[in-house]
């Protein structure tokens, strides 16, 4: 394998494991790393994960995949991310540390929030987001965090807190807090994104009492998102281009 040959890295952050795959130009996988993830069940119907544990597992899988492929970081031309989707994380804008565990897509704790919506609002959600109103999606999970963690709503309104699904959380970490973004396929699973005009929807944000400033910028699925940070290089030893 030539030292100047380039490869593409894919981070596949699923519900049960964090995986990294490296592909060559022919689309053949030349390296893979996989670390299993824990789930926590504090109450029946509640499902949580630890965002820092996810981040560490993803980092480990990257290193395993590179070793497995026998290539070095500078040989990665770009990185893509796919993830478990609706799972909700709120983190401190300054430190990048999560405020509470991630509420996993399977979590049912907010079923009653959805039940309590009137028919007009349910219809509005359906028309705007294409989704069937359900606790599955991020909206009611964000609301739960803002309502139940002390002081959090105030912090969110003061611009001290950010929301993201795991893809956004990983991008934020890997770019050293520079990029807060997601793509429209993930945004379409929050129940806050209008799939007709492709924008965050103010009426839905009002309905779930979520401040708009905590949401990520929505980008296309194939676009340059940013670069990995020096901070990132402290754990991988090298600097390389980062994007989805």
């Amino acid at each position: 394998m030539k030292k100047d040959e380039k490869y593409i890295m894919a981070l596949d952050e699923g519900t049960s494991s964090a995986k990294t795959c490296i592909f060559n130009h022919l689309g053949q996988m030349i390296g893979k790393g996989q670390i299993d993830l824990n789930q926590y069940y504090p109450k029946p119907g509640w499902v949580e994960q630890d965002p820092e544990e996810i981040l560490n597992a993803q980092k480990k899988s990257i290193n395993i995949a590179l070793d497995n492929a026998g290539i070095a970081y500078p040989q990665i031309a770009s990185i893509g991310i796919t993830n478990q989707r609706e799972t909700t994380v709120l983190w401190d804008k300054k430190t990048g540390k999560s405020i509470y565990n991630a509420i996993v897509w399977q979590d049912r704790r907010t079923s009653s929030t959805i039940d309590d919506l009137n028919e007009d609002n349910k219809n509005m959600i359906k028309e705007k987001t294409g989704l069937i109103p359900d606790a599955y999606f991020s909206a009611s999970k964000i609301k739960w965090l803002l309502d139940n963690i002390s002081n959090l709503r105030k912090k969110a309104e003061n611009n001290e807190v950010l929301f993201g699904t795991i893809d956004s959380f990983l991008i934020y970490q890997l770019t050293g807090g520079v990029i807060h973004a997601t793509d429209c396929s993930n945004a379409s699973r929050t129940m806050l994104y209008n799939i007709n005009n492709l924008e965050w929807d103010d009426e839905l944000l009002e309905l779930f009492k979520i401040p708009k400033n905590i949401l990520p910028t929505v980008m296309e699925s194939s676009e340059l998102y940013g670069q990995t940070s020096k901070h990132f290089s402290t754990w991988n030893g090298q600097k390389y281009i980062w994007h989805r």
Binding site: G27, G45, G80, D107, R189, I195, S221
Partner: protein, 260 residues
């Protein structure tokens, strides 16, 4: 971008077998609203958005994992041969509604149900019922798609961990009456995002290149009669009916939130 890049053309259907199952049909450039399925964005490239209909099934692989953790199944890799060691499910159905039911039922109050157990029921039956449930839950969504989109489905493209299970793939073909196609590589989800990342730096030139990379490894074809398919599926529907609304019923008799 999410896990949908193996369905390039409108009308194509894929099923990802993971913790849950996610069945998507590419519906093209406009959102198509459905009664019981989700309308979602599959991806956007160069200012063009592609939409999909999706049926999300919350617990499938997670149910098999649960059986392993309960030591009902000791070896997850051999669950297929365990299931194959009996001729049929012996009337046992497993509805893994651990967190309620997703598409197309959307019942947050349903709970996991195993019905039809007798003294004869052994590990084989549980293994078989668990794998079959994944096929049935997927079929519920496929049926809804056919109704909604008023189209026949010719092929189901599959990926995810569960697609490596040959018993399950044959069962999926049998119960859906469709061809089920496995790709050459198992990590098509990772390949999909790698492709999107590569596109944006010119590592690959256009989407068509991915279509040529995606190649099928093996296809499973339906091998049971329509009559048998109908009977087995009717049994499943009855089992689902038993699992629905369970938490609500318990609340009606006086259970409080903290006890559930």
């Amino acid at each position: 971008m999410d896990k949908h890049l193996n369905i390039f053309q409108p009308g194509m259907v894929k099923n990802t077998y993971g913790t849950g199952n996610f069945i998507l049909m590419n519906t093209g450039k406009k959102p198509y609203l459905s009664k019981n399925l989700l309308t979602t964005i599959a991806w956007s490239i160069n200012g063009e958005t592609t939409y999909a209909l999706e049926g999300s099934v919350f617990i499938t692989g997670a149910a098999v994992k649960w059986m392993e953790s309960m030591q009902i199944i000791n070896d997850i890799d051999n669950i297929g041969s365990l299931a194959l060691s009996i001729e049929c499910n012996e009337g046992v159905y497993f509805v893994p509604a651990f967190v309620g039911l997703g598409a197309p039922y959307w019942d947050p109050y349903a709970r996991g149900t195993i019905i039809g157990i007798t003294q004869k029921s052994g590990k084989e039956v549980f293994a078989r019922a668990a794998l079959e449930s994944i096929g049935y839950l997927s079929q519920d969504v496929l049926d809804e798609m056919k109704k909604d989109f008023k189209t026949e489905i010719n092929e189901i493209r599959v990926d995810g961990g569960g697609s490596q299970n040959r018993f399950l793939m044959q069962f999926q073909a049998d119960i859906s009456g469709n061809k089920v196609t496995i790709p050459t590589i198992s990590d098509t989800t990772a390949l999909g995002v790698a492709f999107l990342a590569g596109l944006s730096v010119g590592f690959w030139e256009d989407q068509r290149q991915l279509e040529s990379i995606w190649s099928s490894d093996k296809s499973f074809h339906p091998s049971i009669t329509d009559k048998k398919r109908k009977i087995n599926y009717e049994g499943w529907k009855k089992a689902v009916a038993r699992s629905k609304g369970w938490v609500k019923e318990l609340k009606d008799v006086g259970f409080v939130e903290d006890e559930l």
